[in-house]
Each structure stands twice: as C-alpha cells, then as structure tokens.
C-alpha cells in the first residue's frame, strides 16, 4: 500500500482525531526516511484506533522496509484479522510469512519459526504451504507426531505435493511411526515415481531400520538409494549414505568413491569428512586420513558454533 492510498483511506474512515494526527506524523516521518519515528507514530495510532487495520498495515510495511520481517508479519497478521476480506493484504501476509519462515529455517531459529508457522497455519487453514512450513518447524523442534499431522494436512490440501509426502514420511519416521513412514514412502513412490527425494528419504529410513535388525530393510536400502541416484545423480546425501553402507560392509574403496561423489555434489559437513577419514584409514592412507580428520574437526567446530 502506498502512502497516498493510505492517507486517502484514512480520510474515508471515522477516526479519533488523535489517531489521524499520529498517522499524519507517521506519513511525514516516512516521507523523510525517518522509519523509526514513523513506526512509533503508527503504533500510537493503532493504540488509539485499535479496530483500524490500516495502521497495522502501514506499520507492517515500515517494518518490512527496515528488514524486521518477523515483526512485519505480526503486524500484517493483526491487520488481516481486522480485515479478513482484504485479499491484497492476505496475499502479502502469505508470501511474506513463507519468506520469513524460510529465512528463520536457514538461520536455525526454529522456535521463532514455529511461532510464526503456527500463526500462519491458523490464518491460512486451507494453504498447503502453510502446513508444510508448520510441519517443518515442528520437525525441527522435535514435535514429531504433530509435525506428521501438519504434513498430513498439507498433503490432504495438495495431494500432488511430493514435498509434503516426503515431509510426512520423514516426520513419521522421527516420531517412531516407522511402519506408517514406510507406507507413506511406498505410496509416494507409486504416486511420484520420478521423484528422487522420495527414494532418498526412504533409503535413509531403510538404513535406520536395517541397523535395528530389519532384514528386509537391509536388503532394500542400497537399491533404494541407487534408484534415487539414477533419477538424480546430484543427491549428495544418497552418495553419503551409500558410502556409510559400503564402509560398514568393509568395502573401503567403494565407500571412498561414494564419499568423493557426495563431496563433488556439495556435501561438506563434518559427517562426510569423518567417514572419509575412516575410509582412508582402512585403505592405509594415513596421511590423507589425518588431513580428513583435520577437516572434520574444523567443520565440527563451525557446526557447533552455528546457531541452533
């Protein structure tokens, strides 16, 4: 909403004069680029006229301009609650909330993301994207059964979403619902036969099941990961998982080759360096193993220093 439209809209609304005065001050401050002063004045206007969505919208716009996206989403959301039929505002909140959620996820701010995602899903009960975001943050904060429910809702809303299906399978797996997860992945393989992520995620689950005594999973894990790579050779996690399987089977040359492919496709975390060191050690390449361990230590330190 531009400032001009904003003031025009104000004129059409019966407002306490003090609120209008605050809004005018906000407009003047915004025109001069004094964003903080503008925000303060709009907060005052919103306090004086709490039923008017325009002040909250304006405040949201200023906060967004300042890069304070979480606060902006909160203000736009408050405005939308006051003016639920405003389609333009609705679209803006929707898009900004999803962008902000992605930003919070990248920054590892999962609790803040969960708060945003909960509000967003309440506001957009028919949005598959909203429930996918909620599922993601519930998963990241270990509320795994609730995450599975959120992904289930996303999949109901958009049965064509392969991402929602993969998310559901992963959340079920983390929730200990491994039989349900296997069913989700199996159904996903039929519905999305060309989706490599389904095969990779299912492959990871099969590896875990194999560790705990599931013989059938042990037989299926490697072919599943290979089938993922047949569809998308750049899936670094699949290469890494294959490397681990090969290491466990005593195939150090095969493991090293898989781990090098994982590296070529961008996997640079501490896990990959550690597994590489183990493979090199088994090949008698001690100096290279030591170098890989040094890389492992550096990556580990960086990961531990990163925000959670």
């Amino acid at each position: 909403m531009t400032a001009g439209i904003f003031l025009l809209a104000l004129a059409l609304v019966a407002e306490p004069p003090a609120a209008i005065e605050s809004a005018k001050r906000a407009y003047a401050a915004a025109q001069a680029g004094r964003w903080e002063e503008a925000a303060t004045a709009l907060r005052e206007a919103a306090r004086l006229a709490p039923a008017n969505p325009l002040y909250r919208t304006g405040l949201g716009g200023i906060l967004e301009k300042q890069g304070r996206r979480e606060e902006a989403v909160a203000e736009f959301t408050a405005a939308l609650r006051l003016d639920p039929a405003n389609r333009q505002l609705r679209d803006r909140v929707g898009a900004l909330a999803l962008d902000t959620g992605a930003e919070l996820a990248r920054a590892g701010r999962f609790r803040a993301g969960l708060k945003l995602a909960r509000e967003h899903a309440a506001l957009f009960p028919d949005s598959p994207a909203a429930f996918q975001m909620l599922g993601l943050f519930l998963l990241r904060t270990h509320e795994n059964p609730a995450s599975a429910e959120a992904y289930q809702r996303a999949l109901q809303l958009d049965p064509d979403s392969a991402d929602a299906s993969v998310g559901l399978g992963i959340a079920q797996s983390e929730a200990g619902l491994t039989a349900e997860a296997a069913r989700t992945f199996t159904a996903g393989l039929q519905r999305f036969p060309r989706d490599a992520m389904h095969r990779q995620a299912y492959g990871v689950l099969l590896v875990k099941l194999a560790e705990t005594g599931d013989g059938e999973a042990a037989r299926q894990a490697r072919p599943m990961l290979l089938s993922a790579l047949a569809l998308n050779e750049s899936l670094a996690e699949s290469h890494y998982q294959l490397g681990l399987l090969e290491l466990a089977a005593g195939d150090a040359p095969g493991a090293l080759a898989s781990l090098e492919r994982a590296a070529r496709h961008g996997l640079d975390d501490s896990r990959r360096h550690y597994a590489t060191a183990r493979a090199l050690r088994r090949l008698g390449r001690q100096a290279e193993a030591e170098a890989a361990l040094a890389s492992f230590r550096r990556r580990k330190a960086a990961e531990e220093a990163a925000p959670r």
Partner: protein
C-alpha cells in the same frame, strides 16, 4: 479363531517362568528412597544423580550396600533432607541401615552423585569417595565400622565441579590407588537454564552446559593426594564426562581409562607411563558414532565380550543413538559392533545409564545389564515409541558377541528412571546380584537366580606389592575347553562401585581349572588347579 482357541487351550496353562532376577528390596529391609530435589528450574543436575555401591566396609566377608542421594535445589521440592544410606549386610538376605552409626551423618555432600569404594591406604578396609556438586567427599574407613571425612587433608574435594562417576586405579604402578573423577559441566544453582518443549519447561539439552575437564589425583601415600590433572594431559580435554572405567586395554601394563561423555567425544586415555595419558579415542574410533557425532555417553564398562582375551567396551547412550559396543581387535581402530551385536536393535528406545558386562547365568560369557530411564516427561510427544520411564535391559551373549534380550522377571517388565547400577554377589552363592537406583523411587535390589546349578569359580585377590584391592589385575582361567579372561577394573557402569571379586562362570566346562594372574605390579602368578563352586582368596606373592 484358531489362535484364540490355541491360547485358551495352551496359553493360559503355561506356568510362569521363575524370574532370573528376583526383587528382594523389601525382603532385605532396604527402605531408603532417592530424592533429586526436582525443581521448577529444571537443573540438569537433577536428572543425573543416584549412585550405588557394593562394598564390604566392615570386612566381615559380606557385601554391604551404599546409596548416594541427590539433594536440595533452591526452589525444589522440600521434605526430609536427602541423605545417603549405608546398609550393613546382616546375612540371610537382610540389610540393616547403619548410616548414622557409621558416621556418614550429618551429611557432608551438598548435592550427591556417585560412589567409588576402594582401600586407598592399603589398610584392609574399603574407603569411600562420594562425588557431587560443588565438591566430593572422601571418607576414610576407620576399621571399626565408622568413617571419617578426610577430604580436606587428602585434597580431593574437586571443588567447584560437578563430579559424576569416579574410579580408583593405580596409574603410576606404585602400589597405591589414585583417583579419577569424571567432571560434567560448568554449573551453578544461580544460573538456571530455561528450555521448553511444546510450551512446557524441560531440562535443557546438555549442550547448554559447557563441559569441564576431569581430574586425576595421585595418591602420595601419606593420606594426601596431588592434583596431577595438568601433567597427565587432562586439562586440555574439557567435555561433559559421566562414566569412567579403568583397564589396560592394550595389555602393555599400565592401566588406561575410557571416559564416556555426554555429547562430547568419548576419551580413550592411553597411559603411556610417566604419569602422562594420550587421548587415542579418535584413532580408536570410539570418540564418535560412525557419522562423527558425539553420542550422549552415560555409563561405560569393559570386558571380553567375544572371548578373544582382549577387553572390549560398551557405552550406554541416548535413545536412537544405541548403546554402543566397541570390540578390541588388538590394534587401533576398534571395531564398532553396535549393529552387528544387535545392541542397536535392543537399545534403540532407551536412554541408558548404569551398564555392566556380567556373566549373569555363569555360562562363561559376559552378558549385559543396562538400566534405563529418560529425562523428558513429555518424550512421547516427540517419539511415540519412547517412554519416560523405561525397563532395564538384560541381554544374553551367545558367546560370540551377539546379544538377545531375555525376560529377567517382573522388574524387567516394569519401568524406572534408572541411573546408577552396581553388581555384587551379596549372598556369596556365586551368582552376581544387582542393585540400581531410580530417580525419586526406592532402589531395587535384585537377587540373581539365573545361575543356580551352574558351576562357577570365585576369586578374591589381595595385592601386597600391588594395591591391596588388585585393581588393574588381569585374570585368565583355563578350563578343559577354553580360556576366560577377566580384569579387576576401576569404576565401570555409572555412579557405581562393584564387588571386587571375580566370578568365572564355568557353564558345562570340565576342569582342571587353572588360574594365572597378572598383578598390577606386573608380576605374574600361576596357581595350581582350583576347585569350583567356592571363592578363593589369593594373595600376591612377594619376590
């Protein structure tokens, strides 16, 4: 329908199997109760307490029992002051509380964690080190049924630290037991860490607490100890240590250490002599899981799991991390056999604490008993297959290092917040019994009934040149068909101290049973064939 009919005809008629371990807590007269002072501040300390020890403090030949309590927290539940309990074995399966008479009251600990019992001054009586926060306490056994607090004089208070498990061992082979204290993390009751799960307060993850270096105290032989942590190389290895066991893993003579740490890499401290330890955990591949992730190591124990004469290690970890098994191939790296041994399968759902490799059925191979219990009351909201209270795990070894779960009796079908676990043969029948602590519950004393009728051979060592408890000794018993190797270890399990005697389960092995001992002093002593089904007291030969 057929199944129902079958069950009606035969299922109900199945007689209940006798328990392998019978709960004798009440019958023994043990009425103490653990108290962690649980507070709305959710101090992580509350979740890691509960020590237990088997020791013969009055030297009457019968194992007594000690339980270590938690303590008060600033805003925690109030009630009677938590205190330790020393139970004297009165025989006939009965125990008598002698805490006050033994001089363990008034309490010297602020907040208690674990116990390590050993005769550090070689006077023939078991002394006691109790770990805790913000200091530990060393009790000297006066030899008349009482203890005296000698912490200040000995210089082992571990001041300012949150001490967890402790181990007595003779690292410099001077015949005197030294003390290792596994320290956990920087901590203060004035600095509660606030964490939430699903909107409710929960214990913060361990990573919210900065790990601390552990400490090594050298026994000077005059009642005093010197803190040699820096020269030993420990101060540069901070981390959240919870469990420790002392054993010579590479058979080179000096006793080494395995330290289990919580989301910090485990330590394998090779004793290279001269009072210096090298951490070889990374080269041994025991520091991390196969993906380079530090598990939440709690308890640790050592023993020969696969019958190759070399000590292997097991570490209890968090749920879905699996309790780990590291097989010792006689060189580095170790072989992680967590999956191949089926430990992953059996332990997946549990947070393990006290853990002990023990031949519970006296068939000659080391089985595994692990005590479990979660930290988070709402864990079910994260994983449907994991519970807050968890059953103990009794795993039977097939002799080649593969474990199967066995139904040990009602206790193994019940759920606890298990922590410390100690093992010892309290009725001298050659079957090793158990005692464990569960947070805010009465402890559990388990009488072993699994080994009845099986042949066994018990050994109690007494060092003369070596430390009197012979901690660090390696014992090899040769039967008509195999060699069984055992060690007298320091520490082991979690917050616990065990019967120092060794019981060899003989299964159906015929004799002669010949024993060779390599004493901590390095001397080797071969004995003539020994008769089974009794304990043998063996004194180290002097040159």
């Amino acid at each position: 329908m057929r199944v129902a009919l079958w069950l009606a005809l035969f299922g109900a008629a199945q007689p209940a199997l006798p328990p392998l371990f019978r709960d004798t807590t009440a019958a023994a007269g043990v009425v103490w109760r653990h108290d962690n002072g649980q507070s709305p501040d959710r101090f992580l300390l509350e979740s890691t307490t509960g020590g237990v020890a088997f020791l013969d403090f009055d030297r009457d030949g019968k194992l007594d029992l000690l339980f270590v309590n938690g303590g008060r927290t600033p805003r925690g539940r109030t009630g009677a002051s938590p205190r330790e309990a020393l139970y004297r074995n009165a025989g006939q399966g009965r125990f008598t509380n002698v805490t006050t008479a033994a001089g363990l009251l008034p309490r010297k600990l602020n907040y208690g964690m674990g116990a390590a019992a050993a005769d550090y001054d070689n006077d023939g009586f078991a002394d006691l080190y109790l770990s805790g926060y913000p200091h530990g306490v060393l009790y000297h056994n006066n030899g008349n049924g009482t203890f005296s607090d000698v912490t200040a004089r000995a210089g082992v208070s571990n001041a300012g630290e949150w001490g967890a498990s402790a181990a007595w061992f003779d690292f410099d082979q001077d015949g005197r037991l030294d003390l290792f204290v596994a320290n956990y993390a920087r901590f203060s009751f004035d600095d509660p860490r606030r964490c939430e799960f699903a909107g409710q307060p929960v214990y913060c993850a361990q990573t919210a607490y900065e790990g601390r270096p552990s400490r090594l105290y050298r026994n000077l032989g005059n009642g005093a100890f010197a803190d040699v942590s820096a020269t030993a190389g420990l101060t540069g290895l901070p981390g959240r240590a919870l469990g420790v066991t002392a054993i010579d893993f590479d058979d080179d003579g000096p006793v080494d250490l395995f330290v289990a740490r919580d989301a910090s890499p485990n330590l394998l401290l090779h004793n290279r002599g001269g009072g210096v330890f090298d951490n070889v955990a990374l080269a041994a591949e025991v520091a991390y899981n196969p993906e380079g992730v530090a598990r939440a190591g709690m308890g640790v124990d050592a023993g020969d799991v696969n019958g190759d004469g070399r000590p292997d290690f097991t570490v209890s970890n968090f749920d879905h991390e699996y309790h780990a098994l590291y097989l010792n191939p006689g060189r580095l790296p170790f072989t992680e056999a967590t999956v191949a041994s089926r430990l992953a399968e059996h332990s997946r759902r549990y947070v393990g604490w006290g853990t002990r490799l023990v031949d519970y059925d006296n068939d000659g191979d080391l089985d595994l008993l692990t005590i479990n219990g979660h930290l988070h009351e709402m864990i079910g909201q994260s994983n449907r297959t994991v519970a807050y209270r968890e059953p103990p795990l009794l795993l039977n070894n097939d002799g080649r290092g593969r474990f199967s779960r066995v139904a040990g009796g009602p206790v193994f079908e019940s759920a606890y917040l298990g922590r410390g676990l100690a093992m010892g043969d309290y009725d001298d029948d050659g079957a090793i019994d158990a005692a464990f602590v569960s947070l805010n519950d009465p402890p559990v004393l388990l009488h072993n009934e699994a080994a009845a009728g099986r042949r066994w051979l018990g050994v109690q060592l007494e060092g003369t040149i070596s430390n009197r408890d012979a901690i660090g000794a390696k014992l090899t018993l040769t039967t008509g068909r195999r060699a069984l190797t055992r060690w007298i270890t320091g520490g082991g399990s979690f917050l616990a101290s065990h019967d120092r005697r060794i019981v060899f389960g003989l299964g159906s092995d015929e004799g002669p049973y010949t024993l060779t001992i390599r004493w901590p002093s390095g001397r080797t002593q071969a004995l003539p064939p020994l008769p089974p089904n009794r304990y043998h007291r063996i004194v180290e030969e002097k040159p």
